[in-house]
Subunit: 147 residues, 2 copies
DNA sequence: ATCTGCCGTAACCATTACTGTTACGACAGC
DNA sequence: GCTGTCGTAACAGTAATGGTTACGGCAGAT
């Protein structure tokens, strides 16, 4: 499906900011986050910009600028992040309208739409079950030195 | 996520072949299926080739060639089709290894892998719940003339 | 008032996946 | 042989993703 890493990187950034703030810092810079994720600061700023539009983070400009959480990690779920960074549906319909003169061509889109709706609903339930608090917990639970 | 229509088209083709066979025909041609899905026969042949590799359909060559089901529609699920036509995972990790010297960079991948594994397991359960028999039933249940 | 650091965003590029299309050899029944 | 269809390679167009450079704008520090 040509999966992308947007949800992963966004979760990484949120967990990083959350931990950074718990260590007493005010704001996190895109440069530091990018260094942790091993990517370019612009990539981080773009993603965090989408999270800001969704009300998950805030940004300050000027000197001493940076990013901070707009909500507690425990109140943010992967569904919030998913909705913020993933626009479209999981499965696409035909790119062109099927033959409406054919029984299958006529009925396939309503049929698949209903089926996909149920499946995506289940996916959303699962995403909503995972908070960023749990993500950070899992991150910190990773063994320091795998043998 | 840049969703594609592969699962939709594959389900369309299977439902079409199934209905065609119930109408007494032996084999379906990629040209007829493509006409119903309003696409190119090569697109259909490519997808059905993947379904053949998965043991869902069979193909005959030579004169009077075409495609037929290798299994009953009732025994084929959307998960079978999904596995046949969708190679990768739903969510991708970072494209480059995160900074292993950072606590978050070190723990994020194991954490997300575990979370994604659970979510994809749920998705697979949902896909396995839908048979192609049900898909065809939903197709035929679509209203003939929406007012 | 200027300096400085970082955001915000545009622009461009390389890579990849998907879909559509043409072309052509291979095969098997007639 | 003739014919119709598969099987597959090859190529093009479109789009998404991720990386990169560039630069204006903002606000606190000096």
């Amino acid at each position: 499906m040509s999966a992308n890493s947007r949800l992963t990187i966004a979760a990484h950034a949120l967990a990083w900011i959350g931990l950074y703030q718990r260590q007493g810092h005010e704001v996190a810079t895109s440069e530091k986050i990018a260094a942790s994720a091993n990517t370019n600061p612009v990539v981080i700023r773009r993603l965090l910009g989408e999270l800001r539009r969704a009300g998950l983070v805030e940004s300050r400009r000027g000197a001493g600028a940076g990013w901070s959480l707009a909500r507690e990690l425990g109140s943010i779920t992967l569904l919030d992040v998913y909705d913020a960074v993933e626009p479209g549906p999981l499965f696409a319909m035909h790119r062109t309208t099927p033959d409406q003169g054919c029984v299958v061509g006529h009925g396939i889109q309503p049929a698949m739409r209903g089926i996909y709706r149920d499946i995506e609903e289940t996916l959303r339930d699962e995403l909503a079950r995972v908070t960023l608090e749990k993500v950070l917990g899992d991150v910190l639970a990773a063994p320091r030195r795998p043998l």
